[in-house]
Symmetry: C2
Subunit: 252 residues, 2 copies
């Protein structure tokens, strides 16, 4: 049995709470939230608190708060020499107070408050100071059914950056497509199967091999037509820059 404390009540904290709670190999000792209202629904299941000084030592303490608050929160944990991890993609392990055995437990997925999460689709990237702490963190990942990856700081920074491209930036391309279709009263709906297929395709072939369209074909007529059709100057810039990027990638 792994005992844990959870600090924070945002999306990541809440989904982790639910995943741990389902497992019979994890016991949640205490759940801290600055604002008790955020966790009061779980009051009957677990020991909730809004006072860090009441926390008692566990095998693993998980800090899932906003990046800026991690260092401060870690200082106020009233015990030391236990394993304390944060869940951020971009904060250094060394921002955790050095009185702890320190680690990172970074779930690489986009969480929303409402939707249920299937943790088998949430790779967890683990970074750790002391080799001796690897087995228990690895166990915590596997009992919730997540793929486990051991990474270093550079790799985590890289993943966080790459995630911005595939998540935030792709989503913005969907948004632009939404604006474009609305401009001629076309249902954005029509594009959704293509969006899914584009993501699905690279499960079996590389993005390099999957590329198609006017840019890679160097179809100047279509590219010109598209640029003329785009009224928003930022959309035009994005079209030109990504076309250039595709042509550079494919050596044309």
């Amino acid at each position: 049995m792994i005992t844990v404390n959870i600090i924070g009540a945002g999306n990541v904290a809440t989904h982790l709470y639910k995943a741990f709670n389902k497992s019979n190999q994890v016991a949640i000792n205490q759940w801290f939230s600055r604002d008790l209202k955020c966790v009061q629904d779980f009051d009957s299941e677990t020991d909730i608190t809004n006072d860090l000084s009441t926390l008692e030592p566990t095998d693993i303490t998980i800090i899932a708060v906003s990046d800026d608050a991690i260092a401060e929160v870690s200082k106020h944990i009233p015990y030391e020499n236990t394993l304390v991890v944060h869940t951020s993609g971009s904060v250094s392990l060394h921002e955790l107070d050095k009185k702890h055995r320190r680690g990172v437990f970074y779930p690489l997925q986009s969480f929303s408050k409402t939707a249920e999460i299937d943790f088998s689709n949430v790779p967890i990237c683990v970074e750790i100071d002391r080799l001796a702490d690897v087995p228990i963190l690895k166990k915590l990942v596997t009992v919730i059914g997540s793929p486990y990856y051991r990474i270093n700081s550079d790799q985590r920074a890289t993943l966080h950056l790459a995630a911005v491209f595939v998540n935030n930036f792709s989503n913005q391309l969907y948004r632009i497509a939404h604006e474009i279709t609305e401009s001629t009263s076309v249902e954005f709906e029509i594009l959704k199967p293509l969006i899914m297929e584009t993501a699905h395709k690279i499960e079996s072939i590389s993005p390099y091999m999957a590329q198609t369209g006017p840019a890679i074909r160097k179809d100047k007529r279509t590219i010109k037509k598209h640029l003329n059709a785009l009224k928003n100057p930022i959309h035009k810039d994005i079209y030109q820059l990504l076309t250039k990027s595709i042509q550079k990638t494919h050596g044309r």
Copy 2:
């Protein structure tokens, strides 16, 4: 029973052939390919030809050839006053020879030669000259199980443009993420669940509502860190431009 001729042997033609062949409400009379080798696997099932002049009239003739060849091919069809449609997203209906009753049968999906296609995930956008031709084209769409959309020329041009954003450009962002992860020997694999979830999310909420990340949070520290980490100047430009676009969309 709808009778069809198919002209062309690329991905779209081949997948349409298979879908029609499965339906007991469609009869494929002849399948034309310039190069008989491309269709010889189907010789036992259907009448294949590499000579346009041998084609005989059917209810619908489908021209699924490269954009540049559509006008020329439509001229050489040796009959007139039947329904002839092309499958292109960007070619005008009026490029079809006016001796035909003309239409467009545009499947909005990314086809690969190998993967099987589920046509319930292939919206078909239909554009048509004469109202009287609507019912038979609509029937052809529905017998293969595809969602049917009647659109006009402007709307088709818009969809084609929007498809470049969600398909070619998103795929290029995946490619960039692949390059970034390789630079620190991280497995690109780790990002795949996030890519799928990003596409999946907008089935239930709009891309506007789905946006997260450093750009929308106006998290200058992270943005600066990311820009410093990007070595490729085009990747840096893309990061800056899409960050600007997100901030503009969300009024910051």
